[in-house]
Symmetry: none
Subunit: 305 residues, 5 copies
């Protein structure tokens, strides 16, 4: 049942206890991509992060916390990630049906700050009582508050690993340390992936990098070493390399709504560049379920191809 | 004894332990609205929040902590919420007569700050020793201090749930992140309900929303999706939807004293929009008891109708 | 993916947290019997309980801890149960491949006592770090030491449930309180099942009952109420009824090596009587692997039929 | 530097954390047998177990705790094991020179009991502050007190493993459950090895088995399966097999003073039977150091050969 | 095996427990410099500190966490230091092969602050479970945040020493308290070494000092006492003296890439001035492995000469 590729990926985590490896395996053996070594995860924290109407009004069934479990299951996703409330409101109904990630910190937009830091909104105990396979945590490298976030993550990750849970880190550069354009700059995204991996993340999630370079010292190296900035697949390859040369699972977020063709091209680039998969939120739940499943299956077919 | 509707509501909490569900059931099976799935709760934290004279001088018996238990019982309320002192001073006399909510944080007006945060003034242990069915907690989304409040709530809610207590969250947008008008803007109130639910609240309390829209990005969506801003019942419906599509109990506060007719119209709108009930403080205890009971019974009759 | 029957069984555990239900679901969705609501579990604690040669000499590959994981996987078992050492020595290699039960107490035969009590040989933390879905615990009702065992179980079960682990109890009447024949007497086995269920077990394991009745007061009732003693299927039905009328999963041990035909007849009786499955140790690993798989598959086919 | 064989042995412990594997590696990379996968360990707990004169009078320098470190180092032993006092009195002088095992329980002869149990005389913290690579613990299967010993070991082993220390178990059948002859009976020694391994020992130490069989039920199996009782190498092979088929390191104690020729023959049999080495106490320190080194080197040469 | 010089160095730490001395000894008995009393350590925290491309693009195999273990082993380094992620991703594969230092705090460049402070990114427990011999910690004397760093170090060092781990402190003057040139001023570097030693560091790492003097009050003394500012060996001697007169191990970082000849001259000066060795990061892993080994061996030859 365990494919050679999944076994190989698990071998990267051979310093971790068997519980962690067991829970990592659950994501890789779930749904349509089971056994391929690729992941497509459904994350739904936008209700908290952007507000309910901005998140769900375009597809009102998505206001219901049950909807997302159904979507993830029917589309054959590898797992589902959400904050405490969304999981508490539906996990019992779907117990044992797919691996869950409890998002342990969250941020809202009702207060606008230059240097963001999410609030810790759940615990490792919550993850255990809700039957989750992993905890999720967001860091904002570039924020003046980054140190507190890294230290919160350190504590949570140590406890989670002792309990056999996997640790998924959303690494999103943001804050007064970098420009808006810099948030997705290739050098910055690669750096963000490295930081998350060095902090002990088992799965790292970043945004797709642009060809912009933000940091002057880094830019010199990119130019001297002729690190290719185009096409996207090359940038993905560089970020994968920056995430321990592919020895830590790295997945990419789909970003805001776009044309499907553009999105599928991005997925092809992720695959070509050696990325481990996608985490697709708004492009999944902000359209009718049938359409979302069609799109997710196209994405999965690319990864599985 | 347990009606189909109450059973249905309890089923929304099927990830929670039986203690939590038991305590939630107590509110739904209490008083005049028992079995209807609707709640009218008496909250009396104004003594702390606004000062005694502003709260009680207009109806001096209300200075006495026993008064509010009697009012809640005689009017057939679903429960009674108050800070530590008010409960300690009267709960023994009324032990077992109605479900209590210990308000675990409170805020006073003797220091005026732009970004408010309440003080934690009670504990889960206090709630247990006072025979409470729930703890209450206020958050101020929009305040620069919101992160600390969310994290305090996280910790309290985890402990309360382990002890089988329900968690009631007052979610009141306030602070430097939003305008005064924005505090009751439809998009903001809906967002505040979502945040409370994502933080794991079992019962969410918000203010009735105005038709104002505060956040530019949200406004675009409200317009594009033609989310109705009128009448009030439609706004209530939107907030209910934003609170997990009705899968978390959402109740509305009556706000400051108004004409009774206006208040009853609001209640009709709450009912029409699918709200779960009201939490009526000043309109209850700032008039003679007999009048208050008359008004509360009119409100309950609307909900029960 | 979740069948109606498995969903029904999980509904019996709706007082438990989602973690427990998730881990219970894992056994019911594993292997050849996935979805049927029936279980065939491989337990290998005989090395500790009876000694290595008595357990493994007849089939020497079984000395190797890897062997049993392979056997359970290749035969399509629902899960595998073993003491700490056997899991530590092989679990990493098979991480995520099948649900594990860490047997938390064990007993050896180098000291012969009339009132047995197992030693606690593992912890809930061990179960988490080894990625187990359940802890296992043996009680000996009838032993002078039973009270200590029940109290050890209480403490372990409370901790396991908080962590979302399922609790499997081996309930084997034994000790100075009952006769040798009484150990498998119908009234005693039914009583043992009831005790385990009352102690909070999620899955109860007993031996197949004989038609003997041990306790005088009980015998009167069995006779007065004409509780059928024959055939075996009726006795199984009575024990299932005694285990909360089928609302707790009850499985039966296969006992010592017998003819395969006799064993398969027993399985048919378990199925006919409404039992949830078998836990087959010696009849599995005390024969060549190919033969064991053939036998286990015959057993599973009966349950699935 | 790490040989293939040592790497293979470490792979048996791939469920353990890196700290445990690191400390296990230290024994296998120390002294004259470094890299061979074989161990010769010097244990000196006889001062406590048998009294000082019985232990050291024949070779008075051995009264001095420094003596044994020197002996172990000069002879090229794989490690040195002793109780708290002996290590405290000399470990500073030899810090970092060879891997140490802190014997965490000990037993004396000033009180003669039928069912022995050692006193716990040290802690995991002691082992860390003394720079040890492992803790040692003695169990007496067959004693009425065995249960308490197993449970003490369980607790100590869990803590030691969390701290990255290896766990060495002396498994010596003794007590009212078995006869004097039974203490070294083949079936009993094999059983004792199995018990220690199931309790989570990383290294198991037993006495060399005689050809006696003690347990009636086991004897039937030994005869039916024709498990060879002669020569000694075959008995060793059986005990190795009983210790997880060679996937847990099993070493043998030399027992009381004998002729050197007999001792070397035993070592040859241990090697031929697949044992991992010897733990040689009295035969080492109860003779002049030069002679002891000569003997130990002969033993090591056999293992390395 | 233990040389006189290593024994002498260990004697400087005779107030520390044996565990600490054992782990210190491990560095001095490892690799090509074993027994010389000199250390060459490979540190790889640049991925976190400077970003992945700036660190590894010039020699892409260095993106892989396994690479650095191989480099350290093949070159015969005394130890390897890295943050949590890099150790977790490779330590299991190399368990027991060389002494490790878990870098417990780290700093990135995505937020530029004048008064730097690293985030705590690992724990003493992590160091134990990963089989490390030491923890590493960076302080920035001169930063407004220095007090928090010193107090974090105090707590970590106390815990590490109780567990027998050595404490390595990177002492890098930086921040608003000193000028850019002052960061490597002789008086400042000497002061930084003193602070680290006073904080209880067992091994102190500083940058090579320039002949600049930063602090006016100090400058008077340097001039009055005619402390030689040239050549480099004299400056090294002064810093060694400032680090408890050579009774605390002091090593120097190589800084950014330079000509090899210049680097080797520096090493000669360190040796001539009584320094204990070098910690060579970028000059090691930012060139092909074969070249790195050649260079490291030249450096070691100087120290061993």
């Amino acid at each position: 049942m365990m494919t050679k590729r999944v076994r190989e990926i698990l071998s990267y985590y051979d310093s971790e206890n068997v519980g962690v490896r067991t829970n990592l395996a659950r994501f890789f053996n779930q749904g349509r991509l089971a056994g391929t070594g690729k992941l497509v995860i459904l994350p739904v924290d936008q209700g908290f992060e952007h507000g309910p109407a901005r998140s769900f009004a375009v597809n009102p069934p998505a206001y219901n916390p049950h909807y997302h479990f159904e979507l993830a299951l029917e589309a054959g996703c590898s797992g589902y990630a959400a904050p405490l409330g969304f999981l508490e409101a539906a996990a019992a109904e779907f117990a044992g049906e797919l691996p869950l990630i409890l998002k342990l910190n969250n941020h809202d937009l009702l207060y606008d700050e230059r240097d963001p830091i999410s609030a810790v909104t759940g615990s490792v105990n919550d993850a255990l009582r809700l039957g989750c396979s992993a905890v999720g945590f967001t860091i904002y490298p570039g924020s003046a508050e980054r140190r507190e976030m890294y230290e919160q993550l350190r504590e949570i990750a140590e406890e989670a690993k002792q309990c056999g849970l996997a640790v998924v880190v959303w690494s999103y550069p943001r804050g007064s340390g970098i420009s808006k354009e810099g948030e997705t700059a290739l050098d910055v995204v690669a750096y963000a992936a490295q930081i998350a991996a060095q902090l002990g993340a088992h799965i790292v999630k970043v945004k797709l990098p642009s060809s912009h370079l933000e940091l002057a010292e880094a830019k010199k190296v990119y130019e001297a070493q002729r690190i290719p900035l185009e096409p996207l697949a090359e940038r993905v390859r560089h970020v994968v390399q920056s995430c321990f040369d592919g020895r830590r699972v790295l997945i990419f977020s789909g970003g805001p709504k776009d044309t499907d063709a553009a999105l599928l091209d991005e997925v092809k680039a992720i695959k070509a560049g050696g990325g481990f998969g996608s985490i697709i939120g708004r492009n999944s739940f902000q359209r009718p379920k049938a359409e979302a499943i069609t799109l997710l299956n196209k994405i999965m077919d690319i990864y599985a191809g």
